[in-house]
């Protein structure tokens, strides 16, 4: 049981860290970088990167993090679980739920809209397409990045507490 608890919490933390690092890099690198580009590069670049993001590695992190964190909570809720570890894992789960909610409400619709604008060479008003997308995307991205890094931090502390309890 202890092995299963430790293993699940360990892999949950790795996937959560990768998810956090992913969003963090968009915040400090991808969006500022594309942000400084001309409208055509911005739209073409974001479309291309967004098409590539639906890949098994990304999905393993994005979906694996909440799934494994959920299992970690359940395993710690049993009789030989540790309540402190359980609550820190639960905090991580709630914070990551915020990330998913923001992604579904804000980012996925905006991404879909940008893709629907079609081939950048055929778009009449690139600046307008970009304007409807960029500011709102970036603003909410900062919020979900903070929530995701905080969720990651909660799991790191849960690992220390797990070590203390076992």
């Amino acid at each position: 049981m202890e092995l299963a608890q430790g293993l699940v919490l360990f892999v949950a933390t790795l996937t959560m860290g990768l998810a956090a690092g992913f969003l963090y890099a968009y915040a400090h690198d991808i969006m500022p970088g594309l942000g400084r580009s001309d409208d055509r590069t911005f739209v073409a670049g974001f479309q291309a990167v967004d098409r590539a993001v639906v890949n098994p590695w990304f999905l393993a992190g994005f979906l694996g993090a909440p799934l494994l964190t959920g299992v970690a909570i359940l395993l710690e809720a049993t009789d030989d679980g540790d309540r402190e570890v359980m609550w820190w894992s639960f905090a991580a789960f709630v914070l990551y739920f915020i990330v998913i909610a923001i992604t579904r409400r804000v980012h996925l619709p905006l991404n879909a809209e940008l893709q629907a604008a079609g081939d950048p060479d055929q778009i009449a008003d690139l600046a307008a397409v970009r304007q409807r997308f960029e500011a709102r995307w970036v603003r909410w991205h900062v919020v979900r990045t903070v929530a995701n890094v905080a969720a990651f931090g909660c799991l790191l502390w849960a690992l220390v507490l797990f070590g203390r309890a076992t």
Binding site: L18, G33, R36, F152, V160, R164
Partner: protein, 175 residues
């Protein structure tokens, strides 16, 4: 702060920054490079130049690339001697694995990144395809996968050392 508190703080920060930098490398491996590889030469060169310019920022440096190195080294130093020394091999392993990623970055990736930026404004470049070809995105991507894997292994070693650290702390407190 007690020595145990300092050790825990350094180790948490090391693991956090290592996770963030690994996520950044992985993002380039599974999304950015495959995505940009499908774009025309002008988009590729412009986008990569701008991404490379903007990555030199304090969040990336302190919260990732340099931070992971400094905090891991600090965590290793704080775990020398005493009961905590059983954690040390895992932190040292992480440090060595991450050093490989740093060497690849400075030795392989940064020089070609600099060459691409030195090609200048894409609108003034006569032959974009040649510039893109010289950059050699296939080789860049291959080495990026290597540094992603060594960083991921370092991240795993640090996450495990958090558990070990907790165990040592509990045993020295007589719990």
């Amino acid at each position: 702060m007690t020595r145990e508190g300092l050790q825990a703080a350094a180790l948490v920060l090391a693991t956090m920054t290592m996770g963030l930098i690994t996520g950044a490398f992985a993002l380039y491996a599974h999304t950015v490079m495959p995505g940009l590889s499908d774009t025309d030469d002008r988009t590729f060169v412009t986008a990569f130049q701008e991404l490379d310019r903007s990555i030199i920022n304090p969040w990336f440096m302190a919260g990732g690339f340099i931070g992971a190195l400094v905090f891991t080294a600090l965590a290793a130093g704080l775990h020398i001697g005493g009961a905590a020394r059983t954690v040390l091999p895992w932190i040292v392993a992480a440090l060595v694995l991450y050093l490989i990623a740093v060497v690849i970055t400075i030795g392989v990736e940064v020089p070609v990144n600099d060459d691409l930026k030195a090609a200048g404004d894409p609108d003034q470049i006569a032959n974009l395809a040649t510039v893109r070809n010289d950059f050699d995105e296939t080789t860049w991507a291959r080495w990026n996968v290597v540094r992603t894997l060594t960083s991921l292994a370092a991240f795993g070693c640090l996450a495990w050392s958090l558990v070990r650290h907790g165990r040592v702390a509990a045993s020295t407190e007589g719990r």
